[in-house]
Symmetry: C2
Subunit: 409 residues, 2 copies
């Protein structure tokens, strides 16, 4: 082996916003993305929101030359939307579906149906095992009144735990995706401090692209302007994060983002900007000792903050479980009352029918619909309560463990 | 460190059959199990079907002396039923919920509601990192016509993949649980060959207990005799499996099962028999090379067999998705027809009402119920198809990988 060889990895990450029938100029954009990827020849391409398998197949066909290896992660009703293209053979894959992901009845926020997950792809490049994670967390629809915050914190926790547990044999860990969190949000601080992952944007030696590294910008013609009202520069929610184990180092030599409209054309690739990093991986001369203990109090603080969010979510979920249970019981009582009335009528107790048959039937119809709906809701919120409780306990255990012994990433 | 120290681990595994309101003499049995565990003082206790958190708390209180550390895994509506008690501090935990687990409408087979999962608990015993997995796979309700076989094969695959990916830093891997598979079934062969786990029953130097190591036996007063008709000795579906990485060895010194009724009492601990193993863990003098390649053709064969099962499941799931979709469309047409009829009546086109209002409303009621049911079913089977497809692809990739390069456990 050559002395001190340097591996340069070129990584591309983009939320492609390729929702069939809903996303504007989808096929045109997918085709543009494919062309761009072919032209630039990245080593690793991490895509989100590729919901249609046909779009994936088209990209696969186009990228056959530069990235012959790929994997599409399936989950949920529509799929996970996640896929990875690689210049290097893929050795193994694993998908982990987050236990909480919004509410099925929030149809306008389709997240629940997407089966949001984290996908893992393992590649081996020149004797270096690289674990590549791609994910897409639950969207934030309102920053002021973010009903999904507890779910997103749970997802960030599960993502961190999944990475910690599956990356133990990896030399280099790479995470790309739309995390739907601003850089200072509790979920991302939790993820970063609990896994030791570093943010390519803050670490990059050179940066080129949107100001502050934003990936959702007002000048992109597909972004919803009202969502960016309080952020005139835009927001940064798409990330490339990385770390190496002690015998390797990773440095981000360069980070770039696209800046809205594709040069020479009238549309951007997506409503998000792409993030492109050049990472330099090198074997370390001497194995450095892990110096995490300095950050211990900060980690404990983040954990406690995250736990508070989960507890708030737990309170809300318990309340909703109770309300939906009560609604189901009331609907059942109404149905029973009606059944008694009808039976009484048939039995001749009340000779004259007090209400018209049509309204009685409509009412029964209505009561049954409510019963089914409320029962479903109750079931759903019961699961939510369990999951939030479970996460809260795990966080507590982590905090206890940290207080007793130092952290080993 | 002492030269060549030997670590003796005493492991207890039991499906406790502790379903509130349904399981017979539940509290009495849980109390008996607690007493027995206290008396024998196991190092690790892996329990399944502890559905009520109160039962868990009672056990936790009772075992505080001998197994002060414990974890209860939450998932699904009712929970996962899984918990672990340990004499050694628990460093970390992770839960992975299987992507397929029966059908929600099979209410009589409540598996879907249980959120069947695999739980991981990491403990460190005398400088040895032990990854402990506890799980409970989907039940087999009919061996002749096993509609759940593809789901169970997917679970076995996901279990194997989860172990492979999370156990890379472990020195010793231990899996206990009710796998709901006979020793020769494709799922268990897949799990064993894909992970390299060894079966404590076949490896044990001493065995004591039910003939053939059976854990569901006719002489247990709680077992359903009709399920065991073709198996006069009973069946073995509860397992303790283990392996060590190359610098350690694990041997099973002794394996025991309970044999129905608790001595001196009139009831058994559960409808399953408990499995108890004594494992000896030792650091290896010289690191042995892994010799898996000899088993390669067998592994390929098992993978191909498992893939066939998944493909069969895929065919069935596609058929069901189609049927439920068609049913939903028909119900919608019926509703539309009725709506047109009612509108026509109200508009005075048909002056006389051809059908009584009650029957019209009942029919609408019926059509709506079918529509909702069929739509739900369609959604569910769409997920099922996705998941089976995903597993099939992963298996294919594994087979391709095996043919190209040797396996690294």
């Amino acid at each position: 082996m050559e002395k001190d060889p340097m591996l340069r990895l070129r990584v591309f990450d983009l939320n492609c916003w390729a929702i069939c029938y809903l996303s504007k100029r989808r096929q045109e954009r997918i085709s543009l993305i494919g062309d761009q990827l072919c032209r630039e020849g990245f080593d690793l391409v991490l895509l989100q929101e590729i919901w249609s398998e046909r779009d994936y197949s088209n990209l696969k066909a186009k990228l056959g030359g530069c990235c012959p290896f790929s994997h599409y992660f399936r989950s949920g009703v529509i799929g996970s939307g996640l896929c990875v293209f690689s210049k290097f053979p893929i050795l193994d894959t694993l998908l982990y579906q987050y236990s909480l992901n919004g509410y099925p009845y929030m149809l306008q926020h389709g997240d629940w149906f997407c089966g949001k997950s984290v996908g893992l792809v393992i590649v081996r490049i020149a004797e270096i095992t690289v674990n590549i994670y791609v994910t897409h967390l639950h969207a934030e629809y309102s920053r002021e009144k973010d009903a999904y915050l507890p779910h997103r914190v749970v997802q960030a926790w599960e993502l961190a735990q999944f990475i910690r547990h599956t990356a133990k044999a990896a030399d280099v860990v790479l995470l790309g995706g739309d995390l739907n969190m601003h850089p200072g949000d509790v979920g991302i601080r939790l993820l970063r401090s609990w896994t030791g992952l570093r943010d390519a944007f803050t670490e990059a030696q050179r940066f080129e692209g949107c100001e502050d590294g934003c990936t959702l910008i007002p000048s992109n013609c597909f972004t919803v302007k009202s969502e960016l009202q309080s952020f005139p520069l835009g927001i940064r929610i798409d990330y490339i994060l990385y770390k190496a184990v002690s015998s390797f180092t990773v440095e981000c030599e360069e980070l770039r983002t696209t800046t809205g409209t594709v040069p020479g054309l009238d549309i951007p690739y997506s409503d998000h900007e792409a993030v492109m990093a050049v990472l330099c991986i090198q074997r370390r001369q001497q194995t450095a000792s892990v110096t995490i203990d300095a950050a211990m109090p900060a980690l404990l603080e983040v954990l406690s903050e995250a736990r508070t969010e989960v507890c708030m979510g737990l309170l809300a979920a318990r309340q909703q479980r109770y309300s939906s249970g009560r609604m189901a019981v009331l609907a059942m009582l109404l149905l029973l009352l009606q059944a008694v009335g009808v039976l009484g009528m048939l039995g001749g107790v009340a000779a004259a029918q007090p209400f018209p048959a049509l309204s009685v039937s409509l009412l029964a119809f209505f009561a049954l619909a409510i019963l089914l709906f409320a029962a479903g809701l109750h079931l759903f919120h019961s699961i939510e309560v369990k999951m939030l409780q479970g996460t809260e306990e795990q966080m507590e255990m982590a905090m206890r463990g940290l207080q007793e012994q130092p952290l080993h990433h």
